[in-house]
């Protein structure tokens, strides 16, 4: 824990915000208050938090179907997120995107994505723009272990290395793609083994340890900013709930024991214990954080519930950007 207390408390805050948002979303979904699919980030909070804490608002990220965690970690606004999940006009995407497309361009969050792996090439484009402008910004592509089996990931990783772009590939290896374990879909154990095939450094970190993730991210981001090119971070992590929805135990594809074992490594609670043990913060400090953001969640839910639905006249709006073109010369 070589980071200043402020940094550590910031990491904690990001994780707590994700957890609270996701648990609330889960409850709302169980109460049939959220339409569509819901892929919760609970259990993986240390990854998005540890990485995004190394970024500024000008550093852009691309995300996955499991994207709320990334947006919250980037500073996403609960109200607009909750409203979007409910399909309200006040949501981040005016109700047009929902959970799988949630975004905030001002925060550099280029959208959750419903297509596995498809965010990675877009992050390459963002990183290209950074290098092109020489603005010192970097891009981060988040993706799962399963996503590394799809062509788009491969092309993005190789192109980023070929063009030496300022980008970090952040893999959330939670050992499953939907309901299928990793060993059915690849013959390797560590995603990081793919890095050398592109010519970039790769590192494995404990994805349940936000400090370890943050350390690795700070290093990779610094390398990218300094013109050192891409790198890959593989965070070993686990989702506590189901692939989508909230059911966790009792589904046949993972044993209850496995889920319980990982839950004992809860990234937030273990972090709090370590901080308390190290005398950096007290239980009361943490409780204050939870309380603050719990209130913010309640506020966001109320805001979202009271918000108007979009109206059908808006269906065909926002497809194209309108601009006046000049006329043909005579």
């Amino acid at each position: 824990m070589d980071f200043p207390r402020e940094t550590l408390m910031d990491l904690h805050k990001r994780m707590v915000r994700i957890r609270l948002f996701e648990e609330a979303a889960g409850r709302l979904a169980e109460g049939a208050k959220l339409p569509g699919f819901l892929h919760l980030y609970v259990g993986e909070e240390a990854v998005a938090s540890g990485v995004c804490a190394a970024l500024t608002d000008h550093d852009q990220i691309t995300s996955t179907h499991r994207g709320h965690g990334h947006l919250v970690a980037k500073g996403g606004d609960f109200r607009r997120m909750m409203a979007e999940l409910m399909g309200k006009a006040t949501g981040y995407n005016n109700g047009k995107g929902g959970s799988m497309h949630i975004c905030d361009l001002d925060l550099g969050m280029l959208g959750a994505n419903g297509i596995v792996g498809a965010g990675a090439p877009i992050a390459v484009g963002a990183a290209f723009a950074d290098k092109y402008r020489g603005d010192g910004n970097v891009a981060v592509a988040f993706f799962g272990d399963g996503a590394t089996n799809i062509g788009a990931f491969h092309e993005a990783a190789n192109m980023a290395c070929a063009l030496q772009l300022p980008i970090v590939f952040a893999c959330e290896n939670n050992e499953y793609g939907e309901f299928t374990p990793r060993d059915k879909t690849m013959a390797i154990t560590d995603i990081v083994d793919r890095a050398q095939g592109y010519g970039m450094p790769g590192v494995i970190v404990d994805g349940m340890d936000v400090v370890a993730v943050h350390e690795a991210a700070v290093e990779a981001v610094a390398r990218a900013r300094a013109g050192g090119g891409p790198s890959l971070i593989e965070a070993k992590t686990y989702r506590f709930y189901n692939h989508h929805g909230v059911q966790n135990l009792g589904l046949k594809y993972r044993t209850d024991e496995e889920v319980e074992l990982w839950k004992q490594r809860d990234p937030i609670f273990t972090f709090e214990s370590r901080m308390i043990d190290a005398g950096i913060a007290t239980a009361a400090d943490f409780e204050a954080v939870w309380a603050e953001w719990r209130a913010a969640i309640d506020d966001a839910i109320a805001f979202a519930e009271e918000s108007p639905l979009p109206t059908v006249d808006q269906i065909t709006q926002g497809v194209y950007t309108t601009r006046q073109t000049t006329e043909v010369p005579a």
Binding site: G87, G95, M100, G114, T185
Partner: protein, 333 residues
């Protein structure tokens, strides 16, 4: 009596696959989560238990390689069923479908046989937003070498899926996500519905409604409504979109003289345009009004139910369109 047995759309699909696998050891299934989990829509439920991991194969998230797996195995003599979870994902594997599977036989001078079945799930209505709700049949039907089906009910599901598996050409079988739970009478024994044969789902005299997938059912509901008002609709469900049974459609047009084509896909450039263009060509002198088309507006599928419900055509909109069409005065009158 076995004919009276009722099955859901998804169970009818499952039974077609199961019976085909029992009958032919060369039939196998591959795709994401199709094995232990039985497919995210339950379509392949129980098959791995029945036939083992050799014949029901969980694959990586690699849509291009999934189609390639099927194509290479098909040209090598097996009869693969490969699954792309959502129809939107055909775009991820488009080269293998359009440039490889569809064209391989022809490019080889007709010398190969490609008995490949690609299954997927299309359609909106689950608030699944722009990348999980599309009906992209128009993209596939334009490609010589493919056959495409989009069934509207459990009976057709079983008969068409059986036909697809036995078919010696690449077929794309599109389930509609919102019909998975629909029940209907399904015979127990295996049967085929020939690819390319439309079904006259309801006979009528005033107007022909051509509609497929879930829209066929919406069209039937609209027809029911309109019957009360004395408007008699003939509803045709082409079932197979490629090859398209245009003869049945034209024959009906000659009788009713007015046609509405309905699909869930975006109207512009949708397959409805082909249907309309062919009708006006083949039955020009029989039309009392232009062929009318109903489809989604020109935008991606929106997420919010408040928007999506206005985006997807339904019985109400179909009925209103038919009323307008029937009310259209003849030229000169």
């Amino acid at each position: 009596m076995s004919e009276e047995r009722s099955l859901t759309y998804v169970a009818a699909f499952n039974e077609a696959v199961r019976q085909a696998m029992e009958a032919d050891p060369d039939v196998f299934v591959a795709g994401e989560d199709v094995g232990a989990f039985g497919g995210v829509f339950g379509t392949f439920g129980g098959l791995q238990k029945a036939f083992g991991e050799r014949r029901v194969v969980d694959t990586p998230i690699s849509e291009q390689a999934i189609i390639g797996l099927g194509l290479g195995a098909a040209v090598s003599g097996l009869r693969p069923i490969v699954d792309l979870m959502f129809m939107d994902f055909i775009c991820v594997a488009m080269d293998q479908i359009v440039n490889q599977a569809a064209k391989l036989k022809y490019m080889f001078g007709g010398k190969a046989t490609v008995p490949l079945t690609i299954t997927t799930a299309g359609g909106a209505g689950l608030s699944a937003a722009a990348q999980h709700s599309q009906s992209l049949e128009a993209l596939l039907c334009h490609i010589p070498g493919l056959k495409v089906v989009y069934p509207s009910n459990p009976y057709d599901v079983k008969g068409l899926m059986t036909a697809c598996i036995r078919e010696d050409n690449p077929t794309v079988f599109i389930k509609h996500k919102r019909l998975l739970g629909m029940s209907g009478v399904v015979p127990e024994e295996p049967y085929e519905i020939p690819l390319g044969s439309a079904r006259v789902a309801r006979e009528g005299t005033d107007v022909t409604v051509v509609a497929w997938g879930r829209m066929a059912n919406e069209a039937l509901a609209a027809a029911e409504k309109l019957a009360a008002d004395g408007i008699s609709c003939e509803v045709i469900d082409p079932r197979t979109l490629q090859p398209l049974d245009i003869d049945t459609i034209v024959e009906s047009t000659r009788k009713t003289n007015r046609v509405v084509v309905v699909h869930e896909a975006v109207k512009f450039g949708g397959l409805g345009a082909e249907v309309a263009a062919e009708i006006q060509e083949a039955a020009f002198d029989h039309l009392d009004a232009p062929v009318s088309r109903i489809g989604a507006p020109f935008s991606p599928v929106p997420f919010s139910p408040a928007l999506e419900s206005g985006y997807v055509p339904d019985a109400k909109r179909i009925a209103a369109e038919i009323r307008d069409l029937v009310a259209r005065p003849l030229v000169g009158s």
